[in-house]
Each structure stands twice: as structure tokens, then as C-alpha cells.
């Protein structure tokens, strides 16, 4: 309901610009005003998309991420500080608390400004590893900008990475070269399922520390596509944390710079578009799934059978109890937030949205099929026969994909066994006719036997019988 309300408001106010699905208060942590001016285009782009930017210095004593136990901001953008640390208001613990309260963070790094230890340990906790030498930068002798870094080769020219998986959504696609000056390499841990690289370096890149006096680099921190330049962590509560390897790439001068790859032609960088994609994703303008109505009912009952009786129409929905082997239909409405509106969710043919009917473990795992689309949602449906097992079950839709918010919807129902009078009568099952006949033949045979027995009292017994009476 809230999104509907906000949509209405947006329409009324005539704001057609994008608006994050999770709020527009953005805190930008930047130390100096001069530093802030370098990114003016970036700020303008964000403000145009509906964000209310608050600039603050980490040195400010009054800066606080929380007020009365609630978040004071919806998103944080951290620029690399010139001083040693981020101050008492932005400790790793507070930043994690911010994430736990559904806040999103975009962290930018730069090889020019050494990463503070606090950030280093925060990233370590999330299984994102930075080179131990704080001045390390990524160098590529094959994909660099010849106009600005013909000597040092530290301005990387990159194209967007291919999607992580064939069925994963690609929010960061597009043409054009990305310039990444003096980037900090990140290495993602193998064990965390929450991490996903957004942009990876080319196979010829490596991380290198300019302090090294040795001519050749021995045992580099990371090489090739192992290096993530932009990486993301989506927490279990779907809060997003993005590490942007090169803060400089967001500056005005790289937004409209002309770059020239080795043996290539001059071209304009796509940094501005890429920055928009990354911020849009991090601040939840993209890839946010929303579940609308969830309903289940007996397949034998359809909405049409009630006509205009609205009470009866609702009465058959979502019963708390079913019987084993009932035919049941499950419907779920899904929307996907896209910049400023909810759009119908489309599932990639290689992917599947699945319904589980589960008690401890799933008894059924079925594909949900889109049956209808409204202006901003798709309704997925699946019909199936309940298993021959009674107990407390739940309908569960567990949809977790890279770059999409986590969906885990459960609806609990009781499944009872057959009532005494719900079994088919014996004669309805033709296979049992022989045995039914068997019983009745036995009975009839017995009656005949009793009749003959009584009728055929033997002669020698008669005298006995008389005597007895």
C-alpha cells in the first residue's frame, strides 16, 4: 500500500524523476569542501534522481547515523578520507548496524588516499580483501589510457563485465569504455554467497604497490579477473553494500574525459552512466522485488463461481486447512522496482521461480508460471495435488538471486487426513467387486448351511431330541 501511496504522491507532485524504493536521505561523507566540488556532476545526477544529499565531514562531532535508535539516513556514500580514520560516528560496528537496519552503503576507495584501518577491518568482516599495502593500485600494461597514463599505465580502460551467470540479471550492462584511474583491487572470499563482483579487471591486470623498489613484481596480491574493481554485498536483509574501487572515476573530469586505448580511437568514457547504474543498484532503485498478494485455494473452486457475492469470493481464499490429495492452486503476485515505478517481474527462461510445499523438507518443488500481468505486477501460479501426508505444511517461495533482493514467503496450512465419510464406498471401486461378492457368497452359503442343518436333523437324533423335550 505504501508504494501505491508514494506513487500517487509522485504523480501528484509531478515528480517524474527516479526515487529509491527505500528512501531518499543520502549522507555523503566527504572531508573537505574542495574534495566535494570535484564530484559536482555526480551530485547533480543524484539530486536529479530525487535524493536529498547531506554533506558531512567525518570530523563533525554531531554526525550520527542513528537518532532515537532509528536510521537518520537511508543511504551512505563514503568518499576516501584524507586523514587516518573515519571518526567515532562511522566505526565499522556502526556501519554494520546501519546495514542491519536496512541501510545501504556505497564505499569508494582510492589508491591516492590510503584506506583507513577501520574500513579495512569492516571489509575483512564481509570477506572482501584489500591488498595489505595501503598504497597498492591496479596496473594493466595492455588496457590503459594512452592519453593520461602513457607512462604509469594506472588508468585502466575496461568494458563491462559479462553477467555472472547466464540466468542472472545484468543491471550493469552497456557499451563504452570505463576509465578507472588508480583503482584499489578487491578480492572476494569464496565462501560468502552474499558477495558478487560488479566489475572485474581484465586478465592482464595486477595489483602493484608503487613503494616496491624491485623492478619485477613478485607474488602480487591479486591478478587478472581475480581482481574485482567494483564489488557488491547484499546482506540477508537485502541491504546493499557496494565497494567502488576508484573514487576518482566518479569525478567530473573522468565523466566526460576522452580516452584512447592502446591502438584504438579516442572515445568518451561511460563512467557517468556506469556510476548511475551502480548507485541506482546500491540505493535500491533497481533489482528490488516486491511480493503483492499471496493466495491459495482449492482448484475446484474458481472466482467466477461466486458471481458478484464479494463475501463468498473472499471466503474460499487462503483456507487454514486442506485435506490430503486436494487439488490446490497457489498464486503469487510479484513486482520489480525499476528506477521510479513497479514493473511486472519477468523471469528469465533459464531461471525459474519455484514454489515449495514443505514440511521440514519440500514434498513438492514446482515451477510457478506467469498467468497474468497487471500494470505493475505479474501473477504467477501453480496448481498441484497435495501429498498423501497430513501435518503442518507451508507454501514457500524462496527466490534468491544475485543482484535481486531476497524473497522468502511462507504461508502455513494444515493438511488433514481423509474424514471417515470421505472415502469412496466399496462398490465404487470395481476392483473390489470380487471380494464383495466373496463376502456375500459366504453369508448366503452360511444361511443355506444353517437352513439345511436345521432341516436335516438326522433320524437317530430325533429320539434324543424328543427325550430332551
Amino acid at each position: 500500500m505504501r508504494w501505491l501511496l508514494s506513487l500517487t504522491f509522485a504523480a501528484l507532485l509531478g515528480i517524474v524523476q527516479a526515487l529509491s524504493s527505500s528512501g531518499s536521505r543520502l549522507l555523503v561523507v566527504v572531508e573537505e569542501a574542495a574534495e566535494r566540488a570535484k564530484y559536482s556532476t555526480f551530485w547533480k545526477d543524484l539530486e536529479e534522481r530525487g535524493y536529498k544529499l547531506t554533506f558531512d565531514s567525518p570530523k563533525n562531532d554531531k554526525l550520527s547515523l542513528f537518532q532515537h535508535g532509528e536510521r537518520s539516513f537511508d543511504h551512505i556514500l563514503l568518499l576516501p578520507p584524507k586523514s587516518k580514520g573515519l571518526g567515532p560516528a562511522l566505526t565499522p560496528n556502526l556501519l554494520l548496524q546501519f546495514i542491519n537496519k536496512d541501510g545501504n552503503i556505497l564505499l569508494t576507495l582510492s589508491a591516492d588516499a590510503p584506506t583507513p584501518t577501520a574500513i579495512f577491518s569492516l571489509l575483512l568482516e564481509l570477506d572482501i580483501h584489500l591488498p595489505p599495502d595501503r598504497n597498492s593500485l591496479v596496473v594493466d600494461h595492455f588496457n590503459y589510457d594512452t592519453t593520461s597514463a602513457s607512462e604509469k599505465h594506472d588508468v585502466l580502460l575496461l568494458t563491462r563485465s559479462s553477467p555472472l551467470r547466464s540466468d542472472a540479471r545484468n543491471f550493469f550492462g552497456g557499451d563504452g569504455a570505463l576509465a578507472f584511474p588508480r583503482a584499489v583491487a578487491q578480492e572476494l572470499g569464496n565462501t560468502s554467497p552474499l558477495l558478487a563482483p560488479i566489475l572485474r579487471a581484465k586478465s592482464t591486470a595486477y595489483s602493484y604497490s608503487p613503494k616496491d623498489v624491485v623492478e619485477t613484481v613478485e607474488d602480487p596480491f591479486a591478478i587478472g579477473e581475480q581482481i574485482a574493481l567494483v564489488s557488491s554485498m547484499q546482506a540477508r536483509n537485502s541491504a546493499r553494500f557496494t565497494v567502488f574501487g576508484s573514487a576518482e572515476a566518479l569525478e567530473d573530469k573522468w565523466f566526460d574525459a576522452k580516452v584512447k586505448p592502446v591502438g584504438g580511437k579516442d572515445s568518451k568514457t561511460a563512467n557517468r552512466e556506469f556510476a548511475q547504474q551502480v548507485t541506482a543498484w546500491t540505493f535500491k532503485e533497481l533489482g528490488v522485488l516486491k511480493v503483492g498478494s499471496v493466495e491459495h485455494h482449492l482448484s475446484s473452486i474458481s472466482e467466477e463461481s461466486f458471481g458478484n457475492d464479494s463475501v463468498a469470493r473472499l471466503g474460499y481464499l487462503n483456507p487454514t486447512i486442506y485435506r490430503v490429495k486436494n487439488d490446490v492452486t497457489f498464486n503469487i503476485e510479484f513486482s520489480e522496482y525499476s528506477y521510479d515505478h513497479l514493473a511486472p517481474l519477468k523471469i528469465d527462461p533459464a531461471d525459474a521461480l519455484q514454489l515449495e510445499f514443505t514440511m521440514l523438507s519440500p514434498f513438492h518443488r514446482l515451477d510457478l508460471v506467469p498467468i497474468s500481468t497487471t500494470a505493475n505486477s505479474t501473477i504467477f501460479s501453480s496448481s498441484f495435488k497435495l501429498p498423501d501426508q497430513h501435518g503442518i505444511f507451508s507454501f514457500r517461495v524462496n527466490y534468491k538471486r544475485p543482484f535481486l533482493t531476497n524473497v522468502d514467503v511462507k504461508r502455513e496450512v494444515t493438511v488433514r487426513h481423509f474424514a471417515h465419510d470421505e472415502w469412496p464406498r466399496s462398490w465404487e471401486i470395481s476392483a473390489g467387486w470380487v471380494w464383495i461378492a466373496g463376502v456375500w457368497i459366504t453369508v448366503i452359503g452360511w444361511v443355506a448351511f444353517v437352513g439345511i442343518w436345521l432341516w436335516s436333523e438326522p433320524a437317530y437324533d430325533k429320539s434324543k431330541g424328543k427325550k430332551m423335550q
Binding site: 472415502w423 466399496s426 473390489g432 471380494w435 463376502v439 452360511w446 442343518w453 429320539s463 434324543k464
Partner: protein
């Protein structure tokens, strides 16, 4: 019921006399195999067919008419039960309760009839002194009715 018992005992005199040796044969007719082997060993020059025919004739001649009737009914039950079982093996046991009640009706009826046979057989008179034939028959009818009631209900 002392008078009844006395009457029963006194009635033995009115039963037609049966030769002792023949009675022993007829007694063991139900346990066919052992009796046939014993008779075979005693008259070894007879063929098996002759023995069987002898046995059958003995049975026809010496068995009281009511016991024969009981035997016919038991043979009928074996046949009906056997057919149901064969059908179950061939076609499958669905619906199982129908099979159970159909088959157990014959088995249960067979057991009840067997006990009726034991109790009313004049051979066993000495063992069932206190049970008159009428009492045995009434028990049989009562037990059978309960059995039929159960089977018909169980088959649903």
C-alpha cells in the same frame, strides 16, 4: 444342565452300532494323508487308487449326515476363499480392505465351522460332554453373525 447331559449319554444306545475299526478310519479322514499312509502300509499290495477309493467309500458309509454337510460347507469355503486369494494375486490387492474382509470372511467361517464339526462329531462326544449339539450350533450361529457383521462393515 444335568438332565440334558444324562439324556445325551443315554442316547448313545439308540445310535446305530458302528464297527470300531471303521470308526477309526473315518475319524482320520479329515487328516487324509496320515490315514492313507497307514492303510497303505498295512495292505501293501493294494494300489494307491484302490486305497483312495476305499477311503472315500468308508467316508461315505460311516460319516454321519450332518458331519458330511459340515464338510461340504467347509469345502465350499475353501473354494471361495481360494478363488479370492488367486484373484488378489493376479489383480493386486487394491482395495485392500475388501480383500481382507472377503478373504477373512471365508477363513473365519471355516474356523467356526471346523469348531462346530469338532463339537458335534459323535466321535468326540466324550470330550465335549458338557456341550450339547444345540449349544454348539447356537455358538456357531452367534459367532458367524458377528463375523459377517464385521466383514460387511469392514468392506465399507
Amino acid at each position: 444342565m444335568p438332565p440334558k447331559q444324562r439324556a445325551q449319554i443315554s442316547s448313545t444306545s439308540s445310535v446305530p452300532p458302528i464297527p470300531k475299526s471303521i470308526t477309526s478310519t473315518s475319524q482320520s479322514t479329515t487328516h487324509g494323508k496320515s490315514s492313507s499312509t497307514s492303510s497303505f502300509s498295512s495292505k501293501s499290495n493294494q494300489s494307491a487308487q484302490d486305497v483312495l477309493i476305499d477311503l472315500w467309500n468308508n467316508y461315505l458309509n460311516t460319516t454321519p449326515q450332518r458331519v458330511k454337510l459340515v464338510d461340504v460347507f467347509m469345502a465350499f469355503l475353501v473354494m471361495v476363499g481360494g478363488l479370492q486369494f488367486v484373484y488378489c494375486v493376479l489383480v493386486g490387492n487394491y482395495p485392500f480392505n475388501a480383500f481382507l474382509s472377503g478373504f477373512s470372511a471365508t477363513v473365519g467361517q471355516f474356523v467356526l465351522t471346523a469348531s462346530l464339526r469338532i463339537q458335534t462329531n459323535p466321535e468326540n462326544k466324550m470330550e465335549f460332554r458338557s456341550v450339547s449339539h444345540e449349544r454348539a450350533f447356537a455358538d456357531f450361529v452367534f459367532g458367524s453373525l458377528i463375523l459377517h457383521f464385521f466383514c460387511v462393515n469392514f468392506i465399507n
